[in-house]
């Protein structure tokens, strides 16, 4: 039957036409179109990957921040604690020192008072001695003013002295 009997002319032209069409479309249509499509797909894929990466980084950053904050808080607490300790020791040290100083001062004062007292006593003694001598001198002067008195005194004194 004619219908299923391929005509040579059409085979010939189909082969030539199809090959030409294939070559032209491959170079000028499929290559740029498929290239553009896959380029776009790649760029979309990259963009998504980058977004994921950015999100991950952000999360990392967030956790880092939290970590840093936590550390800072801990550090602050430690510092406060340390400061408090330092304060306490300082206060107690100061107290101790003050006490020592006071004791020392009192001690010094006591010594000084003692010295002053001694000096005063000595001075007083000297003055009393001077006064006594002066008085004694005056008394002597008065008592030995006449020759009789002088002889009476010597007599008396000689009387006191017992020759042994």
């Amino acid at each position: 039957m004619d219908l299923v009997n391929p005509g040579f002319g059409l085979v010939f032209w189909t082969a030539i036409t199809f090959l030409c069409l294939l070559l032209v479309l491959r170079k000028f249509a499929w290559k740029p179109i498929l290239g553009a499509v896959s380029d776009r797909e790649d760029s979309i894929k990259n963009a998504l990957a980058e977004a994921d990466k950015a999100r991950e980084e952000m999360e990392n950053l967030k956790s880092d921040n939290e970590k840093i904050l936590k550390e800072a808080r801990a550090e602050r607490d430690a510092m406060i604690k340390e400061a408090r300790e330092i304060k306490d020791t300082m206060i107690s040290e100061a107290k101790e020192e003050a006490k020592a100083q006071a004791t020392k001062l009192i001690e010094q004062a006591k010594t000084t008072i003692q010295n002053e007292k001694l000096a005063a006593i000595t001075d007083l003694k000297n003055q009393v001695a001077d006064l006594s001598i002066n008085i004694a001198e005056k008394v002597m002067k008065d008592e030995l003013a006449s020759k009789d008195k002088q002889v009476a005194l010597v007599e008396k004194m000689l009387g006191d002295i017992e020759l042994n």
Binding site: G7, G9, K31
Partner: protein, 378 residues
């Protein structure tokens, strides 16, 4: 019967194929043209008013190739586009226009060119033997005193093929240019329409059938064959151009199947040939038994491609034409609504078939390439 079953098979396949929404746009465009289909056929059949209507002859005339592009009959005078006839005879290349036969298809008009006498009989060009002045017929109405020279004529199928090539080039070169123009690679205009189709061929045909590693090599062939078959299927359905039933011509489908066969055979790797000549994993008697079956299989694959496309498209045309012929066979206008309704129904199916057949041809080609390049996996 084969055609009918094949057709039904395709119809069922249509229902299964849920990718129809891609082609919805195309469907809408052609709904308008469907209604014209019937009228074009009626115009063509007017010439048979004086002799009894021969449905078979009318249908065959429409389905087969021709040397002129018949457009319309006005007052029983055919209006047609003459096409060049190119013959390779003993005297070398002989060319003349088909209009020199004056629409004669019975072998009565003799054209003398380049020292040879040529007649056209049933759309075949014969060269009369030396000394003969008219065609003599034997009992089976075959010419006795003439030979058929090699015919490279630009027939209406070749003409329509070139029209389709121009349309394809316009569509895809424009699309490619629009990608170059837009710097971000966003498809605009016609590129927005063809890109889903190209991505469909890539992601639903080439990638799953051939595999991620090797599909790129076959993409140009698969895309070209998909769109080439599809557009020629569509052109075959357009009235006026209906005369050109290119993708329903076995010469056309044979050539395309041959390309698939050649590419499959050339890209067959060691694993492929091993599966044909010495099937691994089965006992030796089975290996020997399978070898001839597999060798036959190499050839039945492209042959099935050839027959499937040819039979589906031709069957569709024959059914539409046969339904319209009912009006003339029963000689009553009362049958016209039924005929038109049925052929409308079939035409709608045919529109889907245009895409389905292009898809099947492409996916099977891809499947064969995939089988030929498959790596051993154990």
């Amino acid at each position: 019967m084969y055609i009918c079953t094949e057709f039904l098979e395709t119809y069922i396949y249509n229902l299964q194929a849920m990718r129809i929404n891609i082609f919805r746009t195309f469907l809408l465009g052609f709904f308008l043209l469907i209604s014209l289909n019937g009228f074009a056929i009626i115009e063509d059949t007017k010439e048979t008013e004086d002799k009894p209507f021969d449905a078979k002859e009318m249908i065959m005339h429409h389905v087969k190739d021709a040397h002129e592009f018949h457009i319309i009959d006005i007052n029983n005078k055919p209006v047609s586009l003459p096409l060049p006839i190119i013959l390779w005879t003993d005297n070398g290349l002989t060319t003349f226009m088909s209009s020199e036969f004056h629409h004669d298809d019975t072998g009565h008009t003799i054209v003398e060119k380049n020292g040879g006498k040529f007649v056209k009989l049933h759309e075949k060009i014969y060269q009369l033997n030396d000394g003969a002045t008219a065609v003599a017929f034997d009992e089976e109405h075959h010419p006795k005193n003439a030979v058929k020279p090699l015919d490279f004529s630009i027939t209406r199928n070749v003409f329509m093929m070139w029209v389709s090539v121009i349309v394809l080039l316009l569509i895809f070169l424009t699309a490619a240019r629009s990608y170059k123009k837009s710097k971000d690679g966003v498809p605009t205009g016609i590129a927005g329409f063809v890109e889903p189709l190209i991505v469909f061929v890539r992601d639903d045909i080439a990638r799953p059938m051939i595999g991620e590693k090797k599909y790129k090599r076959y993409m140009p062939y698969l895309l070209t064959i998909f769109f080439f078959i599809w557009i020629n299927n569509i052109f075959g359905l357009i009235p006026i151009l209906n005369g050109a039933n290119l993708s329903g011509n076995i010469a056309f489908t044979m050539t395309l199947a041959l390309f698939t066969f050649i590419i499959t055979t050339l890209s067959g790797n060691k694993n492929y040939w091993k599966h044909i000549f010495w099937m691994p994993g089965v006992p030796v008697p089975m290996k020997i038994f399978l070898m001839p079956i597999e060798i036959i299989g190499i050839f039945t694959k492209p042959i099935s491609l050839m027959i499937r496309l040819f039979a589906n498209i031709t069957a569709g045309h024959i059914i539409i034409l046969a339904l319209m012929s009912l009006i003339f066979i029963f000689k009553t206008i009362a049958l016209a609504p039924v005929s038109v309704a049925f052929s409308l129904f079939i035409t709608v199916i045919e529109i889907v078939v245009t895409a389905i057949q292009a898809y099947i041809f492409t996916i099977l080609s891809a499947l064969y390439f995939g089988m030929a390049t498959e790596e051993e996996h154990h």
